[in-house]
């Protein structure tokens, strides 16, 4: 039933045996099976409880002894050993015959440890399942048959075969076949991506429909999938402030509690004796001191805080958001200002035909003529026209093409003289063109010497950009800024469409860095964070300079993965808000755990000192708190509906 390792199973058996023995002793006492009175009863129960105690706690005792031998006296094993032996001795001294407490403390401590190790193992597995993108083999063709080889051994330029249902092991280019790819493990995007011959393909995707032959362009170690796995596996090595705080706290806290316990055991009775305030009540104070020792274990914090971060990073990577370290998750949650690069981040970065004005002929016909004339040009505008036309081009229909640099193109299509270009071209061939107020690149078209309309081409805003800006506002970001190298007019239009607060246009790359520096310099509260989101290609200096750099659409781009602190695998700007929310949830859980554990521990310490909380409350303060904190930490893994 339970996925336990050998160690855990052994512990479970020990817990069960000692629990049964405890119950047996209890029943036997109540029913008088072995009478308690007399020397025989006393020795029998002492021996029986002692055996039970050793069954459950022998390893703790051993570790405690070893800890002292190695000069490290204040570890948790020592505390547990000392507290339980103390409780045992006290019961012996008082002749109460009640050894239950000592054994119960040990029993619950072991249950807590077992639970913790189980929970950690489980979330460890959960996260590695989430990131189950590591390919085990690559298929290569050898002498007509397909052979499975270690992806590490495949040289660059080898043709590999990926069958439907298999993972793409290495980055490459499709040389044969077409298929749909499931990129969910990489991007969190559930819509499959279609690929065919000539398309670049990244490792880690799952081939769904057809057989693909792929020529590898990278070695396995340099492929996307390896990079991502490395990144995720190394992520929690960069420790956050909360983790550092807890580690420091644990180092101070335990000795302080131990010395307080000693003081508690010795000082009040001594004071009573010295000032003759009644009986010393040594055993009462020693009992209280032992309670102290049980509470003192810092496990709840030491385990749950790194676990929360680990789970948060794991959950985020499942959504296609790679966070490079716990510290970045922590910083991300404090994001106050988000600075965007425009092209490729908020806009698609691809120029598209967005409008046609004043067409005197059919609009489709207008596009067709323009596309045909431009079909020999390599200018980005001609690409946009061709993609708007969308059909294969019959180049035989086009002749006499003349490209006039800085003006446009003229040529003959189906016997018609076509001129396609800017206002200057129209003026130079003596055609009166309609001016346009739209923002973007205007392509005027003339047919047989007559003006027949213009086409508006511009970079289009991503469909989710507007929603992304408002989602960021809703997740607590107070300011959004857009930086762009584009013309002021275009930048202002995009900014106002999307609801961006501040816009700076016509910037050179180094001016973008200056803008970030200005924003960082202007902030009044140093804990507020300025995040920069870019598409990573030429934004590396800005990504590094910002408090936190987010690269998006980074699938396959090494430079971006290197430069950024957070990497969004796909290019959906909505993911930025999601990343902020995931980090906020994770940090909330961390704070809850810190506050809850410390509150319960300190209350129990105070109550224990006053004699109100007994050893059972102490067990709750130790083990119960840890179990609750671990369960809470695992919540950070759930990121689906944030």
């Amino acid at each position: 039933m339970l996925n336990m390792n050998r160690k855990q199973k052994k512990m479970l058996i020990r817990i069960c045996i000692s629990a049964v023995m405890l119950i047996f002793a209890f029943i036997s006492k109540k029913t008088g099976l072995v009478p308690q009175g007399g020397t025989f009863g006393f020795v029998f129960y002492l021996a029986f409880y002692l055996v039970t105690y050793l069954v459950i706690g022998y390893d703790i005792l051993l570790k405690a002894v070893r800890g002292i031998a190695n000069g490290r006296p204040f570890d948790e094993c020592f505390l547990m050993a000392f507290a339980t032996i103390g409780a045992f001795a006290l019961a012996l001294y008082e002749k109460s015959g009640d050894y239950n407490e000592a054994i119960a403390v040990m029993l619950f401590y072991q249950i807590g440890e077992l639970f913790q190790s189980y929970a950690v193992g489980k979330s460890r597995r959960n996260i590695s399942d989430l990131m189950d993108i590591r390919p085990d083999y690559a298929n290569i063709e050898e002498g007509g048959s397909i052979k499975q080889v270690d992806p590490d051994e495949v040289a660059i330029g080898t043709v590999i075969i990926v069958q439907p249902g298999e993972k793409v092991p290495i980055d490459g280019v499709v040389v044969e076949g077409s298929s749909s790819l499931n990129t969910a493990a990489l991007t969190g995007e559930s819509v499959p991506r279609d690929v065919s011959e000539g398309d670049e393909i990244v490792s880690g995707c799952i081939n769904m429909t057809g057989v693909l032959k792929i020529k590898t362009t990278k070695a396995f170690g340099e492929s996307t999938v390896s990079k991502i796995l490395q990144l995720v596996e190394n992520a929690s090595s960069r420790k956050s402030h909360s983790e550092e705080f807890i580690a420091r706290f644990a180092r101070v806290y335990t000795p302080v509690v131990v010395f307080s316990a000693i003081a508690l055991a010795v000082l009040p009775p001594l004071a009573k004796i010295v000032f003759s305030l009644g009986p010393a009540m040594w055993s009462t104070w020693i009992y209280r001191a032992l309670t102290f020792l049980v509470i003192s274990c810092p496990c709840a914090l030491v385990v749950s805080i790194p676990l929360s971060f680990f789970a948060g990073i794991g959950g985020a990577s499942h959504e296609g958001i790679l966070v490079k370290g716990s510290n970045f998750l922590e910083i991300l949650s404090k994001t106050d200002t988000v600075v965007f690069d425009k092209t490729g981040t908020l806009t698609k970065g691809v120029f598209e035909v967005v409008d046609i004005h004043h067409a005197t002929i059919d609009e489709n016909k207008l596009i067709e003529y323009a596309a045909l004339v431009e079909c020999f040009s390599s200018h980005p505008i001609s690409k946009s026209l061709l993609s708007a036309y969308g059909k294969p081009v019959d180049r035989k229909r086009v002749s006499d093409v003349k490209e006039i640099s800085g003006h446009g193109v003229t040529g003959i299509v189906d016997g018609h003289t076509i001129a396609v270009g800017n206002l200057k071209l129209m003026n130079s061939i003596g055609i009166e063109a309609q001016d346009c107020h739209s923002i973007g690149t205007i392509v005027h078209v003339a047919l047989d010497g007559k003006y027949c309309g213009h086409i508006v081409i511009s970079d289009v805003v991503k469909p989710t950009s507007k929603k992304a800006i408002s989602a960021l506002k809703a997740s607590g970001v107070s300011k959004t800024v857009m930086l762009t190298g584009d013309a002021d007019k275009i930048a202002k239009k995009v900014a106002s469409d999307l609801g961006v607060d501040e816009v700076h246009s016509e910037l050179l790359p180094e001016q973008k860095v200056e803008q970030i520096e200005r924003l960082i310099g202007e902030k009044k509260d140093p804990s507020k964070v300025i995040a920069f989101v870019g598409d990573g290609i030429n934004d590396a200096p800005v990504l590094t300079r910002a408090d936190i750099g987010v690269a998006m659409g980074a699938m396959g781009s090494d430079a971006a993965i290197e430069a950024a602190d957070v990497v969004l695998m796909d290019d959906d700007p909505l993911k930025i808000a999601k990343a902020v929310r995931i980090s906020a949830k994770c940090i909330r859980i961390v704070h809850q755990n810190i506050a809850f554990s410390l509150f319960v521990k300190f209350s129990c310490l105070v109550l224990g000192a006053l004699g109100i909380a007994n050893m059972w409350a102490a067990i709750f303060a130790d083990v119960g708190v840890m179990v609750i904190a671990v369960l809470n930490a695992i919540r950070a893994l759930r990121t689906k509906n944030i």
């Binding site: 190695n70 570890d75 440890e113 190790s117 950690v120 190394n234 676990l307």
Partner: protein, 72 residues
């Protein structure tokens, strides 16, 4: 030179102690233990013999946590 080793250890606090122990070992420039991934990243000092250093790291870790394992 940086290397990553697989480790086995039961508790987070012990992992922290292993990190401290590894950091103090001669030949180690920096070390960090990732309890969740059960990995130890070790940055060696220039010219250090990796195998010999790791032997000492393992010894030091065994001292603080008798149950731990390091694969190297």
């Amino acid at each position: 030179m940086k290397k990553t080793y697989k480790i086995d250890v039961d508790c987070a606090n012990c992992a922290n102690l292993m990190e401290q122990a590894a950091k103090k070992t001669p030949g180690v420039a920096d070390a960090s233990v990732n309890f969740m991934a059960l990995k130890m990243n070790v940055e060696f000092e220039e010219g250090a013999d990796e195998k010999a250093v790791m032997k000492n790291v393992f010894k030091a870790c065994r001292k603080v946590e008798p149950d731990c394992e390091i694969e190297f």
